[in-house]
Every structure is written in C-alpha cells, then in structure tokens.
Symmetry: C2
Subunit: 295 residues, 2 copies
DNA sequence: TGCTTGCTATCGAAATTTTCGATTTTGGAG
DNA sequence: CTCCAAAATCGAAAATTTCGATAGCAAGCA
C-alpha cells in the first residue's frame, strides 16, 4: 500500500469517477484503474462497486477514505513542519581546551543562555587530537582548537584567528621589562606548562625542538587559571595565550616577556565536521560565537 | 514519499545501521542507501548524519521517526479493521413487490431487527422491471421478484422457489367448492387485479393471451391487502399468491377456485447484482431470508 | 605495518513496476 | 441506431527499484 495509490484513491472517491481523477491527477485513465486494482488486490477487498461503469464506494472503501485522509494529513503535517521555523532548541556538545572553556563559561555563556534558553550546551574539555577524534565519531558537534593552523577536507572551519601568546613571568622576575630577550635567556628558568600534547604546548615544544631546545617544566597542568595564580605568587614562567593572562598583566601581577627569537604561531579555530547536520540550535550557537566573539 | 521508504526508514533508525536493516528487510544494502536517499531528496533534508560510516539521526530524522510510526500505525489499524469481524451494521435497500413488502414487514422483520439492531433496512416497492433497473444502477442492494423465472449472467439468484397462486373468490361465490373449473367459466366475473406490468399480473395476462383471453378488472391496485378485504366483502375475484390469501382462506372468508386449465408459473426470486459488494450486513440479511424463510 | 572486518556510497545492469495509448465492452442519450 | 461516456484490458514503453560488485574508509588485531 503506497501513498501514491492512497492519494489517487482519495481523489477517485471524491470525484466518483476514475476518468475525472485521471484528468485531475494527470494520469491516464488506465493508470487509475490499475492503481485502484493494486490497492484492492493488496487489501483483499473491493473498494468500489462497479455496476454499469459507474463506481460506488463500498463499506471498506468508505472506511479507507477516512484512513487515507488521516494518513495524508500526517505526511502533510510533517512536510509543513520541515518548512516552518523551528523554535531554536536542542542539545549541543562543544569541546574546547581547558583554558577556553573557562573563558567561555565566565564570559558570554550566561548571555547566550538567556537569549536561547531552550538550547542546552554541553562543554567538554579535551586536547586537540581527542577533539578531532570526537568530531570523527560524531561525539562532538563543534570544537575549538588552540593549536597550529589545521585544515582537512572533512572539516569545516567556521571561524579562525591567530592567537596572541606570550611568555609570562611574575612581575618581579629579573626579566620583567627587559627588551629583546632571547629564548636562551629564559630556557632554564622554572616553567609551568600545560600538559604535553595539549594544543599550544605541543606547538611550543616543536618550535623549541627546531632550535634543539627543550623546556622541562616543574609542573604540568591543564588548568591555566592555576598556572597564572602560581606565577603571580612566585618566580615562575609560562607560555600562555593573552586571553588567559591579560587580566593579571593589566592588574600588575604578571608581565609579558619580550622574547624576540621565538615565533610560535597559534590559531584559534572553530571547527565542525563537514557532514554535520546544521540544526537551528547549532547554527545559532556557531553564529553567536562568530558574531559576539563569544570565545 | 512512499510507505515502503518510511518502513525502511523506521527500521534503519531503530537498528542504527543500513546494513542491519537490509538484512532484516531482505533488501540489499545498496537498496537501503537508495531508499533513504530518496526520502532525503524528496524532503530536502538530511535524515541521518553519516560520519565515518556510522549514521546518527538528525533532528528532522527524529521527527520523521515519530510521524512514520504514526503513519504506519494507521495503515496497520486499517488492515486489522479489514480482518476483524465487523459489527454487523449498515444500510440495506431491499426492493420487493407490494404484497411481499407487507408480508415481510408483518412477518419476521421485527425479529430480524431485534437480532441485528444496527442494520437499517429500507423497504421499497416497485414492479419487476423497475427493480432490475434499480439493481443495474446500484440503487437497490437486493430485490425480490414475484414473476416469471428470470435469469441473467449479471445477476446472482440467492434464493428461488415456485410460488403457489390461486384464483380466489368470496366464500359465497357460486364457484366455491366446485371442482375442475375452466378459466372460461370465470373469465367474465368481476376481477380486482394488481396493476398491469406488476409481476404475476403480467404473467397472468401473458398466459391468458395465449388462449386469446383477457380479463378487464374492475379495479387495479397494488395493495393486495385491500384486494383481499374487498373480495371478502363482495362477490369479487382475483388471482393472488397463497401467502396473501392463506389467512383469509383458513378463516373462511375467501376460497380458492379449482381452475384446472390455467398453469401460471410464478417464481419468487431473491436477486442481487453479481458485482454487488457483500457487506456483512447484506450477507446477514440475505442469509436470514434464506434460512428463516423471512419472505 | 599489513590484514581482515564492518560500514556506507556508488555505479551499471537487471528486474520489476508503473504508465500509457489503443482497444473493448457496456450502458445511456439523442 | 448511432454517438457518447465510462471502466476494463492488454501489450509496449518508460520509469523506478533492486541487486551485485566495487570502492573507500576506519577499527581491530596480529
């Protein structure tokens, strides 16, 4: 029993004529005969009495008219529901590095939630490799990387920008305010870095490796807020994005070091899988991030 | 959007796999791909996200699952409704000669109604030619003729029996009790007959015509109950089926005449059109008439 | 690293189904 | 009696569906 036949059936029943239905539907008359017969054969009952070339609905036929209408109404309803602007709602899973998650939650998240209260956002933190893995397994809807500039045909980059980063130290560091430092000057100072493999940490290591250098941090930790607060307390060093340190630099607790021979290029990229279905909610979140500079 | 596709879609959504659905449904896997694509193309939206060869329902997909279930439920419901023993109900139009209508209404009709209260029966009276006309136009569901024996490939005879008829007279008639009368003896007596063209009246006329005889009735009327009551009151004559006269003959108001040279063969036939859809109600009525000798 | 397995997409060919046009049959109207 | 209208039927054409084979890709495993 296919919908095509049901639609034909409805029209035949309404018009009381195979021929008229054929004209209306743009079929030949024999097609209508065939389709109705098909229905009758499948259902094993007569839908129309044919007496002297005029048709009359049978009891079963009359019943089918009612069902057919209800069935068609449902399909129409669904098709309409596709068109109409959906209330923007749903669940979205966004995965970011630790530092950014912090930033976002403390930043615009409340505003976003107030604007779109029925969108539930799940924040998860992970390192870059895991993030891409999650995209590949459709476990994350969208990710934000802080890493070297990446590109792959399977991913869509919704937004990207270079990330300003600095070596930072306690304001009382002997290097504070000193111009034109070399990486060699500070390489043996006590560093706190994010975990190995984590986004910009990995890029930093690679850049150092090019110069046959290596930093052995005294502590590795993902939570950048802890790093900054430790540095603010003691003579320690790190390499962090400005958005993490900006506040404490401005308040005079930390300072940027002027390292002129290290060029670590880090990008912030908002990425989703190219096969990802853009739900209204997802699109809204992504647009919000792009426009409001949410992250 | 055809039901085939919706059913496939439901299974795919449930199993979360094109391959498994193909096995279950007995299709090849490429067919499933094709059918889902067909749906997606027609609806203009993605139903499944395909990321690394695993599928996940999209929002629209999830919505369609719900609609598809409802649609399938309706079709199933209809199919079941075809199977199940229907409450025997509906409207039936039965057409009979005047005399029989009387007989049936006064006879078993109440019993039938009590047994099958939701079957509404419409009785109409008509002469034989009109009755067949009504069958041909599907205006009557079933007819009962009192006429010469008829047969036609387009009609189904559900029941038939020869009808016993007699010339009848008032018990005080000079012919009462006389054996071996000839039609010539009574041909000029005052007759009351049913209308010309009406079933057995027509057959009678034809039989008389064979003998070059003719009866010119003093009154023509379809209502046989009136004929009998008039004859009971006066010295009048008629030619009627026994079922009409039986009661008054037994109570000694009328008598049969023993006319031995007229052989008028009348049949009672219960007939419907061969293309008539046998609704439960119609079948019940016909069976009832056959079994209970309703008419 | 290479092998195997499991999944979906794709493609051309085969099979099936649908559609059409022409014809037939029947009844009704003029 | 002829013409018209309506549905059934039939073979052929057209369209659609299905299949089988293959490819591409990722995961698991040795």
């Amino acid at each position: 029993m296919e919908l095509r036949n049901l639609i034909t059936f409805i029209h035949v029943a309404e018009l009381g004529s195979f021929t008229k239905a054929a004209e209306l539907l743009g079929y030949s008359q024999s097609t209508i005969s065939f389709q109705i017969k098909q229905l009758e054969d499948e259902l094993g009952c007569l839908l129309f009495e044919r007496i002297n070339h005029t048709i009359t609905l049978t009891e079963k036929g009359r019943e089918l008219v009612s069902y057919a209408h209800r069935i068609c109404a449902l399909t129409d309803e669904f098709k309409e529901s596709l068109e109409e602007e959906k209330a923007c709602s749903g669940h979205i899973h966004i995965v970011t590095p630790d530092s950014l998650c912090d930033e976002m939650i403390r930043g615009n998240y409340i505003d976003f939630h107030n604007k779109y209260p029925s969108v539930s956002v799940k924040f998860t933190t992970a390192d870059t490799a895991v993030m891409f893995d999650m995209l590949d397994h459709n476990e994350a809807d969208v990710i934000i990387t802080l890493d070297s500039h990446s590109y792959h045909k399977d991913y869509v980059i919704a937004k990207e920008e270079p990330l300003s980063m600095h070596f930072v130290a306690n304001v009382k560091s002997k290097f504070a305010g000193v111009k034109q430092l070399s990486i060699h000057d500070i390489i043996n100072e006590p560093f706190i870095l994010t975990e190995y493999g984590q986004g910009y940490r990995r890029v930093l290591d690679k850049e150092l490796a090019k110069k046959s250098l290596e930093i052995t941090p005294i502590l590795e930790i993902g939570r950048t807020d802890m790093i900054t607060s430790l540095i603010a307390q003691d003579n320690l060093y790190s390499f962090l994005p400005d958005f993490v340190t900006k506040e404490m630099v401005e308040s005079g607790k930390l300072c940027y070091l002027d390292i002129c021979d290290m060029d670590v290029e880090i990008w912030k990229q908002l990425i989703y899988h190219k096969n990802k279905w853009m739900s209204k909610a997802l699109k809204t979140l992504i647009d919000y991030i792009i426009e409001k500079n949410f992250s």
